[in-house]
């Protein structure tokens, strides 16, 4: 299933300058893995060694924080939009 991943400005240099990418996957984890296959440098930037997200990375599926869903195991539908954003904003 193809999902549109929106890449934040801070990661675009590591993503060949792209601001978004279409990636296949049935869950958030599969989509992110697909993104990392395309842009290997992104993995270390947003993932911990154990494969979970770094603590200052937020991922939203259709505007909803995936921690309110099923985290990285959240299923994604064809045409869904996944947004990666820095968590250190606001307050």
């Amino acid at each position: 299933m193809a999902v549109l991943v929106k890449i934040p400005t801070q990661l675009r240099a590591a993503a060949g300058g792209e601001s978004e990418a279409e990636v296949d996957g049935a869950t958030v984890r599969e989509v992110l893995d697909g993104l990392f296959e395309r842009h290997a440098e992104l993995r270390a930037r947003i993932s911990d060694e154990d494969g979970s997200l770094r603590r200052f990375v937020n991922v939203y599926l259709a505007g909803e924080d995936i921690r309110f869903l099923d985290g990285l195991a959240t299923p994604v539908a064809e045409g869904a939009e996944l947004t990666i954003l820095p968590a250190v904003a606001g307050g």
Binding site: K6, P8, T9, Q10, L11, A13, A14, R45, I46, R54, R55, F56, V57, N58, Y60, G63, D65, R67, F68, T83, L85, P86, A87, V88, A89, G90, G91
Partner: protein, 427 residues
């Protein structure tokens, strides 16, 4: 000036002093780094000179310009004239609250009343610094994601300095905070969602617009403004530190930066008794939005986001950016992070009003209620010097006190007073 560069709090990577807030390597937050060596090169004599310079400075946060992240010094034609530019914040009263202390079985409680700022909350401190830096960087438009107090402040600073402003708030904010923002002529955008939705939207917009979002791309500079609360408290206590501070937590930025301010001055030797321990830091949250208090209680080092449901809307951040650092600080300083119910918040507002004459908004009710809770639990030694940080004004959240007392309406005659009031009160 002593300001040096931006540095990632996590991996320590260095960045130039631009409108940046996230480390590209690890996504950690950037913060401002300083080199204070020139301030104290001459030892004790320089420290005395520095104290005199601060005391002779303007009656606002620019008296602490040596510790703030502006490349060109305080705004205005000279340091002494800084108070003529924009909306000067700070130098708010530190009030000795003996009646509040007595009510709680304590001996020395001080209230730092930051409602006494131009737009009636501590946000004027952080906005003053962020907007001054934004002007140095050449921005013409300022913006923010706000739970209300920041909205007031950004709109007012935009008006004072002739900058365009965009203010994004949750659409269901208290009416007083909406009115006290729109009046300044800002472009006010109500977003159908929680503060966390507003924040996500603004983080996305920030990448697309050439605007200074004070609490996003200018956040490293903005956060530094909160240190001035610590500087003022220390200066007002006669260059001494308190033993304990009670501070509300929304994102956790204010909480951590107050401690950073105390530490910065202690390390320089600017406060007396450099060997004295740093203050215990107690964070205060509302039970209806307490991701940091819950992580503290559960022994976690990260916060799980929550959906806020509390009358303390100015603290209603379900996904707090500085949560991990607030947890570290509370534990390392020997403090704690507690949460109180909406009923306790209302009682906190009443307790502060009736013992100090200070009317605070719901966030101050949270802070006062946490102080009462700590005192009741026996966590505070009666001989401690405690500072309660009151961040905002009660007139902004009037609904919180509606129906909490009775009034009577009488005919304008002595008989009516005697029969309807005096008899009832036995006066």
């Amino acid at each position: 000036m002593a300001v040096s560069h931006l540095q990632c709090k996590e991996c320590k990577a260095e960045y130039p002093l631009e409108a940046l807030y996230v480390c590209e390597r690890c996504f950690g937050p950037l913060e401002v780094a300083y080199d204070h060596s020139s301030l104290t090169a001459g030892g004790a004599r320089d420290l005395g000179e520095l104290r005199r310079r601060i005391q002779g400075g303007p009656q606002n946060i620019w008296r602490y310009a040596d510790f703030l992240p502006l490349a060109g010094g305080p705004p205005g034609p000279s340091g002494r004239l800084a108070s003529r530019v924009g909306l000067p914040a700070g130098c708010t009263p530190l009030v000795r609250a003996d009646r509040l202390a007595a009510a709680l079985g304590l001996r020395e409680v001080w209230v730092k009343n930051d409602a006494a700022n131009p737009t009636h909350s501590f946000k004027d401190r952080v906005v003053s610094v962020a907007v001054a830096r934004a002007r140095e960087l050449g921005f013409r438009t300022i913006a923010c994601a706000s739970t209300g107090n920041l909205a007031n402040s950004v709109a007012a600073h935009g008006a004072a300095l002739g900058l365009d402003s965009y203010v994004f708030i949750p659409a269901d904010l208290e009416e007083q905070k909406v009115l006290a923002t729109g009046v300044y002529g800002t472009k006010l955008v109500g977003v159908k969602g929680s503060y966390d939705d507003v924040n996500r939207l603004c983080t996305e917009l920030c990448a697309e617009r050439d605007w200074a979002f004070v609490n996003i791309n200018l956040r490293p500079y903005y956060a530094e403004g909160s240190k001035t609360l610590a500087f003022e408290i220390a200066e007002q206590l006669g260059w001494e530190l308190p033993d304990r501070c009670i501070v509300p937590i929304a994102s956790g930025s204010l909480f951590t930066k107050i401690a950073a301010g105390f530490r910065e001055w202690s390390e320089l030797g600017l406060t007396d008794n450099p060997a004295r321990p740093q203050p215990r830091m107690n964070g205060a949250q509302a039970q209806g939005c307490s991701p940091v208090a819950k992580a503290f209680a559960d022994g976690h080092d990260v916060c799980r986001p929550v959906r806020p449901d509390t009358i303390a809307k100015s603290l209603a951040i379900g996904n707090p950016a500085d949560g991990p650092y607030a947890l570290e600080l509370a534990r390392a300083s020997g403090g704690a992070i507690d949460a109180v119910s909406d009923e306790e918040i209302r009682a906190g507002i009443a307790l502060l009003a009736r013992t100090t004459g200070i009317f605070t908004e719901t966030a101050g009710g949270v802070t006062t209620a946490v102080l009462a809770k700590l005192a009741a639990r026996g966590d505070i030694d009666p001989d401690e010097r405690v500072v309660l940080v009151i961040t905002g004004e009660g007139l902004k959240t009037l609904d919180a006190v509606r129906g909490t007392f009775e009034t009577c309406a009488i005919e304008p005659t002595v008989e009516a007073f005697d029969s309807e009031v005096a008899d009832a009160l036995s006066v």
